[in-house]
């Protein structure tokens, strides 16, 4: 059944299957819709088309019409309209669909063409797969297996090129492996807007290099490594660390800023080896900032906190502290916590009859994947009702209350109070209960310290600048001596006399759905991979700081510029 063609849809025939696709789609994408794989190297859905690798060659043809009468010419053998096949293969990436287009991706000519291309590509390829980091996710390996002829007729000596060129601080180039697809060049030019790469020399001596005096050092340089179909561009950080087939992939959200880029965390046996982008065309396409890829180092950081007491003993001490200072407790929650943790924080505030403060972080947005608001979950705090207004950058209110002696105890969740503007004297005046993964001035001054988890060790949800709620999953097991924030908060809430809250996400989301109107119809398990956009209208009046990013345009002029 073919749906009636809408004005912007054209019907094409790919390997005998008819499909209606939007006008302007190229053959590779159209074929993908009918589960036909057209191999390619240089083509990338988010980059311009150059058609230089020639791997996506296909056979195509148009229905025959009489040039004079424009009447269809029928094939007497099949009784259908005759197809005029173009005698030479065409590239799939550079061919946009047109009505009635017929494509053959499986034919002797296509097979021959692919084998020829593969043989040429492999002529100068060093075949050092055993030491190549791309092995296992290499398009050259995959397509040589799938479409290559299986042996080489090339007996001459291979080209030798430099093997460890440093293109920039984070990218190492192995020129021998490069197949000159130019994806990296196009990315730098079109997406990163930092045109530093190019080819020099000709023929088999062509070499990828930086322009003289320049380096590939923009904050998106590692995307070139991601999109490199072979092992030419490698991440200096990940180079020779671990083979990709050992790594477990977990879907995580980047907490670097309110963009909430989707990432994949690659880990093995509790150790994270790298972070790569996960395609989400509504948020980050297939890109990720370099700065987001080193966040995993916090998991095994030297300043991780580890408990020396049982969680029960710590909770008992915190409860005693709460009892000794009734009515004089403040809570500093965090816009870096997950929605669930903020929900618990709200409950804790209610139970302790305390005021909740948040700390805002503002930086320079790069209009791509780093927004000015460096907190990943300010909107989560709004949605859960933890705060009503946007947080300030400094805790001046709290400082004043401490100075006035109104506040005797502070529960700081994932926030360094010293960094948020409290002086050492002010910290000394109050009893602090600190929840956090890493040591800082606050944990040093705290009476009770609950070591908790980094974002890679727990599951939860974040609400990004588009009010898109996205889930992050636990990539590695919790570090020794650290407890899940939710478990700690649930026990603290119980100790403070609040409701009993489940720390397990499935049952917790039933409670959240019941209490938070905006999330009423949701469950954690059913949250789509690409996230779910919440209703932003109740918060339209709030002066968010973000400027424009890749897939977000602020409703009102950016305040970020003023603060920056």
């Amino acid at each position: 059944m073919i749906a009636p063609a809408k004005p912007d849809l054209v019907t094409v025939n790919i390997d005998g299957q008819e499909i209606a696709v939007p006008k302007g789609t190229n053959v590779i994408e159209a074929a993908r819709l009918v589960n036909v794989d057209v191999p390619h190297y240089c083509y990338h859905p988010k980059l311009s088309v150059v058609g230089n690798c020639r791997m996506c060659l296909i056979e195509m043809g148009m229905p025959a019409v009489d040039p004079a009468t424009k009447a269809p010419i029928m094939d007497p053998a099949t009784g259908k309209q005759k197809i005029n096949w173009i005698p030479r293969p065409q590239i799939g990436c550079g061919t946009n669909v047109s009505p009635g287009l017929h494509v053959k991706t499986i034919s002797p000519m296509v097979k021959d063409a692919r084998e020829g291309v593969m043989e040429f590509l492999l002529i100068n390829h060093p075949l050092d797969c055993p030491i190549c980091d791309q092995a296992g996710e290499c398009k050259l390996q995959e397509q040589a297996t799938g479409y290559g002829r299986g042996y080489s007729r090339f007996v001459e000596q291979k080209n030798v090129k430099p093997k460890r060129t440093q293109l920039g601080p984070r990218v190492t180039l192995d020129d021998e492996r490069c197949i000159l697809c130019s994806r990296c060049i196009r990315f730098s030019k079109e997406i990163a807007k930092d045109d530093v790469l190019g080819f020099v020399d000709r023929g088999s001596y062509s070499t990828l290099t930086c322009y003289p005096g320049k380096k590939l050092e923009n904050n998106y340089s590692l995307n070139t490594v991601d999109i490199c179909p072979v092992g030419a561009l490698t991440s200096t950080d990940f180079r020779f660390k671990m083979r990709v087939w050992f790594l477990k992939q977990t879907n995580v959200i980047d907490t670097e800023s309110s963009v909430g880029a989707n990432t994949v965390v690659w880990s093995r046996e509790g150790t994270i080896y790298r972070i790569t982008p996960r395609r989400n065309d509504e948020v980050n396409d297939t890109w990720l900032a370099d700065s987001a890829r080193v966040l995993y180092k916090a998991v095994k950081a030297a300043d991780r906190l580890a408990a020396t007491e049982t969680i029960e003993a710590l909770v008992a001490r915190a409860a005693a502290l709460f009892k000794s200072t009734p009515g004089a407790i403040a809570i500093v929650g965090s816009a870096r916590s997950t929605v669930e943790e903020q929900f618990f924080t709200r409950h804790l505030a209610t139970a302790l009859k305390a005021s909740a403060h948040l700390v805002s972080r503002v930086g320079q947005g790069d209009k791509l994947l780093i927004s000015a608001d460096r907190n990943p979950n300010v909107r989560g705090a709004l949605v859960t009702g933890l705060i009503k207004t946007l947080p300030a950058q400094q805790l001046t209110d709290l400082a004043a209350q401490i100075d006035a002696g109104k506040i005797k105890a502070v529960v700081a969740i994932n926030e360094d109070l010293a960094a948020a503007g409290l002086t050492a004297a002010q910290l000394a005046k109050v009893s602090i209960v600190y929840l956090g993964a890493h040591a800082n001035a606050t944990s040093a001054a705290a009476k009770v310290v609950f070591p908790t988890l980094t974002v890679f060790e727990k599951s939860g949800t974040f609400v990004n600048q588009q009010f898109r709620i996205q889930k992050t999953l636990k990539a590695v097991p919790a570090a020794a001596g650290a407890t899940d924030d939710l478990v700690v908060l649930a026990q603290l809430v119980a100790a403070a006399g609040g409701a009993a809250l489940p720390a397990e996400l499935g049952s917790l989301w039933k409670v959240i759905a019941a209490e938070v109107p905006a999330l009423a119809t949701m469950t954690f398990a059913n949250l789509p991979e690409t996230g779910l956009v919440l209703d932003a209208t109740p918060y339209a009046a709030l002066p968010f700081v973000e400027g424009e990013t890749l897939h977000y345009k602020p409703a009102q002029p950016a305040v970020a510029a003023a603060t920056a």
Binding site: P130, Q157, V160, K163, D201, Y205, F240, M242, R243
Partner: protein, 180 residues
Amino acid sequence: MAVITVERKPLTFLERTYLPQIAGGLKTTFKHLIAPKKTLEYPEQRPAIPVGYRGVPTLVKDPNGREKCVSCQLCEFVCPPKAIRITPGEIPADQADRAHVEKGPQAFDIDMLRCIYCGLCQEVCPEEAIFLQNQFSMSGYTRAEMVNHKDRLYELGGTLPDAHHKWDKKKTAEEHGNAH
């Protein structure tokens, strides 16, 4: 399929007494009692190891005394009981004698308490660096002793006198080949 019922041959009276059979059995065992012994008395006598024997896995060096392993971790991947553990490492560019190899094992451990001597590591090795050799007797007093580290693996493995030097070829190509 047709079922063919085979009639069991009825036993004769003598057979039912078991006695002739017992006598026959006793005769057989007595023959063995005085027959020459067929045992190999192990520590003094050693078995001849046949070609292709799969003993303790070892790492070998090439005739130039360089390690062949490039820590591709395929053996670690293929190892059914997960006995192999490799920590890969980069070889600095200034080690000129290592030819074109950029990568080598920082640590290479084979846990012989786990190893099942299947030989898949040898099969999969693209560099012909790991071999199951003639050594068949592994013993130790602690679990830690039963883990062969890199040094021990090279000590057990020795040198493989092969003539195929892939990385040397690459080096020659770099020096005399068609680099422009």
